[in-house]
Amino acid sequence: MSSILDSKTPEGPLADKWQNFKANEKLVNPANKRKFKVIVVGTGLAGASAAATLAELGYQVDAFTFHDSPRRAHSIAAQGGINAAKNYRGDGDSVHRLFYDTIKGGDFRSRESNVHRLAEVSVNIIDQMVAQGVPFAREYGGMLDNRSFGGAQVSRTFYARGQTGQQLLLGAYQQLARQIGQGGVRLFNRSELVDVVVIEGRAAGIVVRDLMTGELSSHSAHAVVLATGGYGNAFFLSTNAMACNVTAAWRAHKRGAFFANPCYTQIHPTCIPQSDDFQSKLTLMSESLRNDGRVWVPKVAGDNREPHLIPEDERDYYLERLYPSFGNLAPRDISSRAAKRAVDAGQGVGPKQNGVYLDFGEAIGRLGRDTVAERYGNLFDMYERITGENPYDVPMRIYPASHYTMGGLWVDYELMTTIPGLYAAGEANFSDHGANRLGASALMQGLSDGYFVLPYTISNYLSEWLNKSVPDTSHPEFAKVENEARDRYNRFASVGGTRSPDWFHRELGKIIWDYCGMERTEAGLEKALGEIPALYEEFKKDLRVTGGTDGLNQTLEKAGRVEDFFELGMLMCRDALDRKESCGGHFRAEYQTEEGEALRDDDNFAHVAAWENTGDPMAPNRHVEDLVYEEVHFQTRSYK
């Protein structure tokens, strides 16, 4: 397969590639840095850290967030921790082992060089965050504490109670705040990217909508960084925040950036099941609960007795039965699918029969209520707040939910998309996680991109533009893109149908979840590819947005985001249909082993699928980047 995708992987042995890159890249001298302007969209871990670091280096940085404050980004909700190959435990960890675990966890679908670099800089991230005052958990001796996480045999996860994401984001936010305060960064809050402007094949700037006034404005720069998160809200119900959306990445895609592996979505096994039809989001319960909780369903389908009335021998502890060596700690994708099968078989529990039990009865008996409260008290309280049930007395009910998206904008080794000058960082890019992300790796990747990768790689591009003029916002293309955006919003406001954007989003989410969720089939995906465009047509005809296009209008904002999810949904299904194998978060029912495990096809699908927009969302072009493994060898993941 020939490929127009150049990953720009540096020369040399894997372990030296990043060093080689840094030794040979083109630099911008300090006095010249201020001549360059960089736009950073999004202020989560990747965006805030990138904006702060670029400003520290001396670039002019404009940072955009659609929130009221940079600190609201959804990175804040990460609970568990952040991996780093520090080997503070002396338990055999190393950069190579973190690299290997990440590749294996990603089911051999990630780019070796990127992952190795991620493992290398993981060490610097911890140093950096501690220096910035992140209060990581400590031992009594004052040293940093670690915990272990899924998919690893060493303890390398650093954490700050159950709020690691919050503390890391606040750390990055504080660095950004420092730069805003000192004039290095200009912050545009409550400003949503509505389009990317490409002039002469290069990213020239963006068009944003001021959410408070409804005004559209153009911004030009030498380079644009999108750090705008993932697209998990395509499913409507997910653990993502309500406002998370794909718009920035999708607009870039429509302007020419390739979108890679959209079918790789991660479903987290331990979320609180949906309780009613108008539910707005799902809440994650930390994976750590599976250390002591036992997962079970009644053996007989439709058994709706109270859990304590179901005797031991009529319970099916299916994870312990199917995966005796990992038991309740089987990896996320595997546990999720097992839960789905139980529920699909009618063994689901709860009022809507849409969950499985996560039972702490045995743990409370073994450890005592106090110990369990000490370990999980906060989570139990949160569960009770949401469900009104006390998990000390009644088993928790859990069910998988969309959580993270491994797919995203295709980027090369330098994090540049297929549009020169347009970068993607954090969850927004197709990243280093392959087909499945390990726990505690998302925070690592976001900070790695923002603090330690982009600031180096961006100069390689910018140096070419020294003392050359780039188009500013007076270029007619900006006005044209602005007008297109204006027309688009006017269109939403003038459809005058009967349904709210939320209604369409919910219906769309159901289709994507049913056919492109935890388990996909050819027939189901074909069906989805019929239903989504039909619903999209209805959206165009029957949408109702009240209020005007001037001023604050949350309904209008929502309409724009939902429209982009429609087109993305088609691409997700298309990608899932074309990837005729099962790997990581992508499980095609046709491709499984006799035991029902994912069956990879390394001969035909050891590649990245990067999609090019053709103007017709139903007929995108598929490009491939072959994944060449120098260090690791394909293996079948087994957690039996």
Partner: protein, 258 residues
Amino acid sequence: MTNTLKNLTLKVWRQDGPNTSGSFETHTIEEITDEASFLEMIDILNERLIEDGEEAIVFDHDCREGICGTCSLMINGQAHGPERGTATCQLHMRKFSSGDTIVIEPWRASAFPIIRDLMVDRSSFDRIVEAGGYITAATGGAPDANLIPVPKPVSDAAMDAAQCIGCGACVAACPNGAANLFTAAKITHLNLLPQGQAERYSRAEDMVETMDSYFGSCTNHGECEAACPKEISIDVIALMNADYRKAKVQNRKQLSRT
């Protein structure tokens, strides 16, 4: 397990913009399950409003997990509503009963101007952090993370303060519209840690004075602590006051050296 609440009367503040006057608008929720969260109830109401051709009620919300700090709302005279240690987004309808009248108002403070309906602008919090709520540590030059041991009790106390989600409930609940709990939580987080010592006093002085330019003063009512979804203790305010006092002396000393 699941109950249905009937006949709730909502009195919701509606206001077109920062400089227009607003008023309460009354809506009736005929039936809702107590499994619904408070914000989901507003979602449902909003969907109904849109279907009736009216404009949806504007309110801030995002993660709905009680951590991003975007949600607000004064519910029946309490910031974040009746449940202690809980942000509005995690408040569920089972805390209410059939027939209740629920008054929903935006947070009110001159530093939090109302943007529209229930949405307020809390940028003044960012200004306080920009004034000094950080440790200057440029990317790349950090020493090994275990170089400076931090005693666990110190680290835990810093974490207690660092949990602040920046929602502004403290200001909303304070009879004086003071932001001392927010500011003190950030100062305490950074000033307790060894890494934060170099800038300890400039931080205290700059942040307190920036806070002063936007907010009211603390008269030690303790309402902020009761409203805080993270239950941050007002002890942090005492620590801030002490550091500010010392800062006034220390910073002069530093200045006289330059």
